[in-house]
Symmetry: C2
Subunit: 290 residues, 2 copies
């Protein structure tokens, strides 16, 4: 068995080419590195270096060893990452979502159902990365916008969301009952960057030059109030924040402008979150009754 401190030093040499540079990077002295490299060769029982003229370089075996050493160190780092992540997952709940609205709705529910747990949330555009995060205990609960086929996931159908465009009452579009993305091609539209997968949807339907993307939510609010530019909205958002005087919201009828959300956890966590999923179902019934 080769200790990792030797591999770390060896990989540093392989990367930086000379003992001096590597020793500086690792904040150890050159003689220490020199000694370690000898020790590594000794413990492996194979020559790894080509030595000539006070110049040290990897030989063919050394190159093979450097590759393998990186893998071994990566496995070690994996261990640390996985353990810390899992340990954290026992005390904290991280909600990963493809879209911000479900987060708003779920956060109070999670806080109520999982008292004493720290709750953090994260937007992530790609369903695949959300699922991978769930498996690696980066997330405990995720919200997807497509039903996943994966067998190790327990999924509960959640709310729908329909995208609207909100315009001033005197806007050319204001009279319409419905619009398509195509209708929006001639306008510049305000939006925020923090809308999860909806960003991918809008970018696939509208050219970037049409979109005035604000990274700050505050800035977006100010611009909406101060300008008469159209901006994206959704039935859910309108419902929860109420109508804005002097503006009308028109539904976008493209199929891409409507999504069904799914709340998922690992099947191995299903029992643990049973009452939470019950509460989610309950909230949907109450929500529809409003």
């Amino acid at each position: 068995m080769i200790e990792n401190y030797l591999l770390e030093q060896f990989v540093a040499f392989a990367r930086f080419g000379t003992l001096r540079k590597a020793s500086e990077e690792l904040h150890i002295t050159q003689p220490t590195l020199s000694r370690s490299m000898k020790k590594l060769e000794d413990e492996l029982g194979a020559s790894l270096f080509h030595r000539e003229n006070s110049k040290l370089s990897l030989n063919e075996t050394g190159k093979v060893a450097a590759e393998c050493a990186e893998k071994a160190l990566a496995a070690n780092q994996d261990l640390i990452d996985h353990v810390l992540r899992f340990d954290r997952s026992l005390r904290t709940i991280t909600l990963g979502s493809c879209s911000p609205y479900p987060v708003n709705e779920l956060v109070p529910l999670l806080q109520e159902q999982l008292p004493g747990k720290t709750l953090t949330t994260e937007l992530n555009n790609e369903d695949a990365r959300l699922i991978a995060g769930l498996r690696s205990h980066l997330y405990q609960i995720i919200v997807l916008h497509e039903y996943p086929e994966e067998k190790d996931l327990f999924c509960q159908r959640y709310i729908d969301e329909q995208i609207y465009i909100t315009v001033p009452e005197d806007h050319p579009l204001a009279a319409k009952d419905a619009v398509t993305f195509e209708d929006l091609l001639e306008y510049r539209i305000l939006m925020t960057a923090h809308i999860g997968f909806w960003m991918d949807v809008t970018l696939s339907k509208l050219p970037p030059s049409n979109l005035l993307i604000q990274s700050s939510l505050d800035a977006l609010g100010d611009l909406i109030a101060a300008s008469s530019l159209p901006f994206f909205n959704s039935d859910r958002m309108i419902h929860s924040s109420g109508d804005i005087p002097g503006r009308v919201s028109i539904p976008i009828v493209d199929p891409e402008a409507k999504a069904t959300y799914w709340v998922c956890c690992l099947t191995s966590d299903q029992q643990r979150f049973r009452s939470l999923f019950n509460a989610i179902r309950g909230s949907m019934i109450r929500g529809s009754g409003k």
Copy 2:
């Protein structure tokens, strides 16, 4: 970074369940293990054990950690194996073959073409394992009985071999020009275990009870001389060792009883073995001219 000696001790505990057993297995003392497990928790910054009633067991995080630790240790062992194998491959040539006859032919050629190198040979029934061995530098040259499609292999068509059955002149089969495996069903046949993939062929065509398999080649030779039992032979073997007085050899005409050999190396080694492959082609031309 977690040092591997800690992981080794941790995995031993995970396997054997108590510090005592693990300490005995590792030939270290119990207090040492106890201290190491604390150190591991400390360095990871996570609790790994459930401690109660002077009983130590893994908690959920510990189970995750044990799995990852095994992977990390496996990666470390991989490093050692790969490096030693590669280093060895620079000084020695290991020939892996699916069949013994090509080995007999190739060994003198290899010794002539690669002077100063240590030469070892190994029979291996499965082509897939020969190819894997080539890739991991366990072998440098292999002989297959089917053309492999793998792109990282350089392959050279080699000799054919045809299996015969050798019987006494007064044997019922002696009069035949050709036989099939089916004809052999009623006889007990002498053979050796060291015939590579031919063993798989015979076992697929004849019941094991028909085969008198000798592990020692000497024993087989003695039995052939002392008994009148049929035994397997091949055109190549007959050619090189000459006819045995009082015996006749009859070809087995099933397609399975004929093989074409392929000599292969890694394409990355192709240049290194160029003259060797030339010599192999040369030997085949001379061989056919005889």
